[in-house]
């Protein structure tokens, strides 16, 4: 019986080993997390193009369809005699510059589908931050054309803001996806767990329903950023409970929106 048991164990291990080996022998592709692109006001076209190429071949996932010749038009090689994308983009739609056409293709791909292809492309602007979208446009323009994307095309963005950051995100992104709605921040930031505001909230920390009558905007700001700097009388036992991380989690715009909102509660 031991021989049978050993044969079964060897068979199972051999089968698992074979499958694992085969899966390790094929090309290994990991899906990376899109990184926030820091592009300053003095960014050069070359820097934009280089950044766009990294997005195009990496996190953007563009090469899954573009360049294979079956699912979507070739962008980096000739497309049915019309040239590279940088050469043809300005001629695709009358009245639209190359830059406008490419942005439309990334923002609303189904607006003008190239004949012979299916409308399968997702809206890239939903998935990538604006800086990456414009970097990709610069890269595509550079394929046979001239680059006219500049830093002024990229909407002002708070440093560290990652579009789509969720209520559960920790670090690397703003709370509530960058929302500046104070009630959303109050709930998503977890303030509601301890502080009462109107009809909702807990009683671990001071009631904030009329906080504006007791504290100035400046004091409220300090209390959010450094909660233990001044403890409200009666709450000494809860010192140290409030997180000191809101300075990292909130953007400047969010912090100010929250401070203004609370200061107005009189």
């Amino acid at each position: 019986m031991w021989a049978t048991n050993l044969r079964i164990v060897a068979l199972v291990l051999g089968t698992l080993g074979l499958y694992t080996l085969i899966a390790n022998e094929i090309p290994q592709v990991q899906s990376e997390v899109p990184q926030t692109l820091a592009l300053g006001a003095d960014v050069t076209p070359e820097q934009l193009v280089a950044a766009g190429e990294r997005v195009f071949t990496g996190a953007g996932g563009c090469t899954a369809c573009h360049g294979l010749g079956t699912r979507a038009p070739n962008l980096l090689t000739d497309e049915k005699g019309t040239g590279l994308i940088g050469e043809r983009c300005g001629k695709r739609e009358p009245g639209k510059s190359c830059k406008q056409y490419l942005y439309e293709s990334l923002d609303n791909p189904n607006a003008s589908v190239v004949p012979g292809y299916e409308p399968i492309m997702p809206a890239v602007t939903r998935q990538l931050p604006p800086a990456q979208v414009w970097a990709v446009i610069a890269f595509l323009e550079s394929q046979g054309g001239s680059v006219d994307v500049t830093a002024s095309d990229i909407p002002a963005q708070t440093p560290g803001l990652t579009p789509g950051a969720s209520p559960g995100s920790a670090g690397g992104g703003a709370l509530a996806g960058g929302s500046t709605d104070p009630m959303t921040l109050f709930r998503v930031g977890g303030c509601v767990g301890c502080h009462k505001l109107g009809a909702e909230g807990g009683a671990v920390g001071p009631d904030l329903s009329r906080i504006g009558a007791r504290q100035t905007a400046s004091q409220i700001r300090v209390s959010i950023l450094d909660p233990d700097a001044r403890i409200t009388p009666g709450f000494e036992n809860f010192k140290g409970i409030m997180p000191k991380t809101f300075g990292d989690q909130l953007t400047a715009a969010q912090l100010e929106a929250l401070v203004r909102f609370l200061a107005a509660r009189r």
Binding site: I8, I26, E32, E118, G164, G193, C194, F238, I241
Partner: protein
């Protein structure tokens, strides 16, 4: 007291989003807990499905061996059930402690369904106990029917429990479109979150896959018992049990791809980028591995049938055909596994000499792959038909005509599959996709039509000799083990595909994964994780089955397995 509760709440609210698990990391810990729990859950949901079917056959045909088979299935279920619950608890605790904010987010939406889940779990458990422990007490007359109804009820509870759990994971894949990152989870209606785009396709897909999985594990159990048997009677019983388990697994497997197509279509309709990631993006190589695994399933399943025919008198007349069937399966597997549109760097494309391989690229397209897999299904069905017909001599006057009609059905189905496969090369993609429906319909029509005729042909058939149950060479039983391991591994792989297409999102485009393990790993790492999970599962299954064996002797039928004329299966 109230202050204490509030303090606790405050602590919970200030929890970090993630915690690290020692040595292997949080992602690996949750991966293992979820996967092993899912494997046990699939087993305990799949087995009751055919336990009630086997019991019903026993009742209607008055065949006691089916009743005993159903009871033995249920005994396996009993011991596996507690393991399912334990791993479920492990998963919950891991999520609570390692991904606290994410779990809090999910529970804020699905809290009521989680309470319902727990309640149904109780009902399911006690129904199972009644079903198993009442087996001998409620064995006759109306009581037997009541007992069978308990089996149905057990399936009803189990199915609802699975549907509820499926809603949580499908919400992560396809949250309703009106849910945004800033949406307060407490404002999302539970039913709105449950009835998301991929919920029902996953429900159906898992329901069928559970039957496949349960059948494969039962067959492996039977094969072990067969190899360990000390008497011919015992060997005969477990030979028959292995056959039934494998038959159920392969039969359900044939239907499974259709449920998979539906799920894939829903994913594409929900979000094209998710579909493209799945089929053409970084996961494209996964489907080549899947093709290889399914080829192993087809080959091992057919091999088991061919070897099994050696113990059936009359089967020798079919033996010359098996080499041709094998050839079709091998060629079909090679075509199906041919890569085509892969995510590749510009250097790789240049090295290949273009976007596709100059010769193999032609075989890698869907026209060729669909043709290959449909022909493989037809071939497997033909193997099964030969197995079924092996010891029968039809006596109905139209027997010859009936057989000719069956042959014609096979030829027409194969011709339709080939015609649309070739024509697919000359039409637009959107037209080509529609062709796969015609191919599938032709195969299904053939399977249904041929089966109906075969059942009618078998009426009053004369036996060419009894099936020599137990006279199987051991190598056939090892084929059943390969099937079970491959099914389990494939389940882990498909789980990775389903979960991995969310990439760096806990909830697709709503809640971002900002942990250190947010990047979705490559297939090599995933394969190692899957193998570890399969190994843990199989080791535990072997242990719980051994425990079950200690408590009660297996129930095999002595008289019917060795004596009496039995035509068919």
């Amino acid at each position: 007291m109230a202050d204490g509760a509030l303090l606790l709440q405050a602590v919970v609210d200030s929890l970090p989003a993630y915690r690290e698990f020692p040595a292997i990391g949080s992602r690996a810990a949750v991966w293992i807990a979820a996967e092993v729990h899912l494997m046990f859950a699939a087993f305990v949901l799949g087995v009751p499905l055919f336990a009630v079917v086997a019991e019903a056959i026993g009742i209607f045909n008055k065949e006691d061996r089916y009743d005993r088979l159903a009871k033995e299935f249920t005994r396996l279920l009993l011991v596996a059930y507690s393991a399912t619950a334990i791993w479920g608890v492990v998963l919950t605790f891991f999520l609570l402690t390692l991904y606290p904010r994410f779990f809090r987010y999910l529970s804020a939406i699905f809290g009521p369904s989680m309470w319902l889940y727990v309640g149904l779990f109780f009902l399911e458990s006690f129904t199972l106990y009644l079903y198993y422990y009442g087996w001998e007490r409620w064995k006759q007359g109306r009581a037997k029917w009541a007992h069978w109804s308990l089996g149905i009820l057990l399936n009803v509870w189990g199915t609802i429990v699975m549907f509820i759990a499926n809603s949580w994971l499908t919400y992560m894949m396809s949250p309703p479109r009106d849910v945004a990152p800033a949406t307060d989870p407490t404002t999302i209606k539970v039913w709105h979150a449950i009835a998301n785009a991929t919920w029902m396709p996953i429900n159906v897909h898992r329901l069928i896959a559970n039957v496949v999985f349960g059948g494969a594990i039962v067959a492996a159990y039977a094969s072990y018992r067969f190899l360990a048997a000390r008497s011919d009677e015992e060997r005969a019983h477990y030979d028959w049990m292995g056959y039934v388990g494998n038959f159920i697994a392969i039969s359900a497997l044939i239907v499974l791809p259709f449920a998979g197509y539906w799920l894939g279509r829903e994913i594409y309709e929900y979000d094209e980028s998710m579909g493209i990631t799945m089929m053409g993006g970084f996961m494209s190589w996964l489907w080549v591995i899947q093709a290889f695994l399914i080829a192993v399933l087809f080959l091992a399943g057919n091999y088991y049938l061919w070897v099994g025919m050696e113990r059936i008198p009359g089967a020798e007349r079919f033996r010359p055909y098996t080499k041709w069937l094998l050839a079709i399966l091998v060629v079909g597997a090679i075509v199906w596994g041919t890569p085509h549109t892969m995510i590749a760097t510009s250097k790789e494309i240049a090295a290949m000499g273009g976007s596709h391989h100059p010769f193999l690229g032609v075989l890698g397209v869907m026209s060729a792959k669909n043709t290959a897999v449909n022909l493989m299904i037809l071939t497997t069905f033909l193997s099964f038909l030969m197995y079924r017909r092996a010891n029968k001599r039809p006596v109905v006057p139209w027997a010859r005509t009936g057989t000719q009609i069956q042959a014609a059905m096979f030829i027409v189905a194969a011709a339709v599959v080939l015609f649309y496969g070739i024509r697919g090369y000359f039409v637009e993609a959107i037209v080509r996709i529609g062709y796969s429906v015609y191919q599938v319909l032709a195969v299904l029509a053939c399977i249904v039509g041929v089966t109906v005729i075969d059942v009618m042909l078998g009426r009053g058939a004369v036996s060419r000799g009894d099936i020599q149950w137990g006279k199987m060479p051991p190598r056939s039983q090892y084929a059943l083990f390969i099937l079970a391991v491959t099914f389990t591994w494939l389940m882990g792989l498909m789980g990775f595909a389903r979960s991995g297409i969310r990439q760096h999102w806990h909830v697709w485009q709503v809640m971002r994964d900002t942990s250190t393990s947010a990047a979705t790993p490559a297939l090599g790492y995933a394969a190692e994780m899957i193998s570890v999970c399969v190994l843990i599962f199989l080791a535990l299954v072997a242990f719980v089955f051994w425990l079950g064996g200690l408590a009660e002797k297996p129930t095999f039928v002595q008289t019917e397995a060795t004596g009496g004329v039995h035509v068919g299966h």
